[in-house]
Subunit: 264 residues, 2 copies
């Protein structure tokens, strides 16, 4: 651990980013595997807090198990799709709320499994996320509904998702399209916005000063933690570099090079 | 003509907006028909300067003739698609430039008729406009090419296009998607940006102080004229109202209620 970022606290719970923190694309991060095993050994509750709304918790669990030899439960996964559902449940205008969804099957399944029904005409909510089958027609339905009064929700503001072809357009790009065509700002759920963290605190059942957000990306993970008012731990195993972060006026609570440096 | 906006000048040429100025959707504007006939009678050169990139000049001519009894030539039409071509011809990096197009058949035809060849891998230019067959794949091709160094051009920044279903997403919404996913600003051609006006001046062969831009929309037509440094005439037959415009710090050169008030 670097000078000046000494571990001062024993946290009761952990929020952990996935890509860049627990694995690096298809590559394993062995220190992360040891860290997760240590959390389990010490019975410390943890949630993987991810902006990815296209995957279901069981898909995340399967990928971690099959490709990274990390073994967790679906209950350890909290996606922006699940946080979107929790936001809508807390703000629904009636018992059987309706929704129009621009997004993939993972997002649709988690929403429909929670008592929402699909409606494109006058939905209570329009949820906009990443959709690799995006069309002008789907975007138009979303735009017309929001212009008619539906509540506009964006799953996450990611500009891109890294794929083999390159930096493909992310959920935030889809949201920007709808934002411009409606001239309305969405209620944005994912990191770096604090909603997903506040919602994860409810799910894990701990107070703000009892958890720490761990991630590799200053602009999403660390800012989300800061925006929600919880401690943050930046691990330099992914996107952000010490050089970039040293220029920031708000520094993470802790900065480490490997999760091996952290005492659970 | 209103007090304080007396017609002071006899212009040599006219730039004229279409929807809201020459017709109102499917409804005719009789004063506009008389105005166009008067321009023709006095042999005054004029161009319809339109942000619509999906139509070819012959389509515009056909619509004016069949639905509004206004008879003009294809040479009287200057679309954002044509202005896009003129921009690319003036800035092409080599003799046989390549382009990737997100747009409809009208935009593709005008570009391909001017010596450009299609290429999605490493095009010199990526042109983004309105496309009612928009897909994630098309958007991804545009984003990947721009991220690899292609010049990013937006046909026009319109937020919406009015259709029977309502205010559908406009070209600007498609451009915003690509802008966010590339984190690059486009070279924007259409109104209220001045490029389409500067390019129309070359086409009509007149100087800035010899033409006036006529339109019904303060935020597109009038601002385009102001941004290009030419005189402007706001006719209250369409979108803008005197009440809205009175709050602006920069007023149009002239404001009238009907084109019947204007002496050619």
């Amino acid at each position: 651990m670097s000078e000046g970022t000494k571990q001062l606290k024993n946290y009761k719970g952990y929020f952990i980013d996935l890509d860049g923190t627990v694995y690096a694309g298809k590559k394993r991060i062995p220190a992360a595997k040891r860290f997760i095993a240590s959390l389990q050994e010490h019975h410390k509750p943890f949630l993987f807090v991810t902006n990815n709304s296209t995957q279901l918790p069981r898909d995340v669990v399967k990928n971690l198990s099959e490709n990274h030899d990390i073994h967790v439960q679906p209950e350890n996964v909290y996606t922006s799709g699940m946080a979107t559902v929790d936001y809508m449940l807390a703000n629904k205008p009636r018992a059987n709320p309706s929704v129009y969804i621009v997004g993939e099957i993972g997002l649709k399944q988690v929403i429909l499994a929670n008592g929402f029904r699909l409606d494109s005409d006058h939905p209570d909510f329009v949820v906009v996320g990443l959709d690799s089958d995006l069309t002008y027609e789907k975007l138009s339905e979303a735009v017309l509904a929001i212009r008619s009064g539906s509540t506009f929700i964006g799953t996450n503001p990611d500009t891109n998702i890294p794929k083999e072809r390159g930096m493909m357009p992310g959920a935030g790009s889809v949201v920007k399209f709808v934002e411009y065509a409606t001239q309305q700002e969405p209620i944005m759920i994912g990191k770096p916005r604090p909603r997903i963290i506040e919602s994860a605190l409810k799910k894990i059942g701990l107070a703000k000063d009892e958890v720490v957000m761990i991630g590799d990306n200053y602009n999403t993970d660390i800012k989300a933690g800061m925006n929600a008012g919880i401690d943050t731990l930046l691990v330099y195993s992914g996107l952000s570099t010490r050089q970039q972060v040293s220029k920031e006026s708000n520094l993470p609570t802790y900065q480490i090079d490997s999760l091996d440096e952290w005492q659970v």
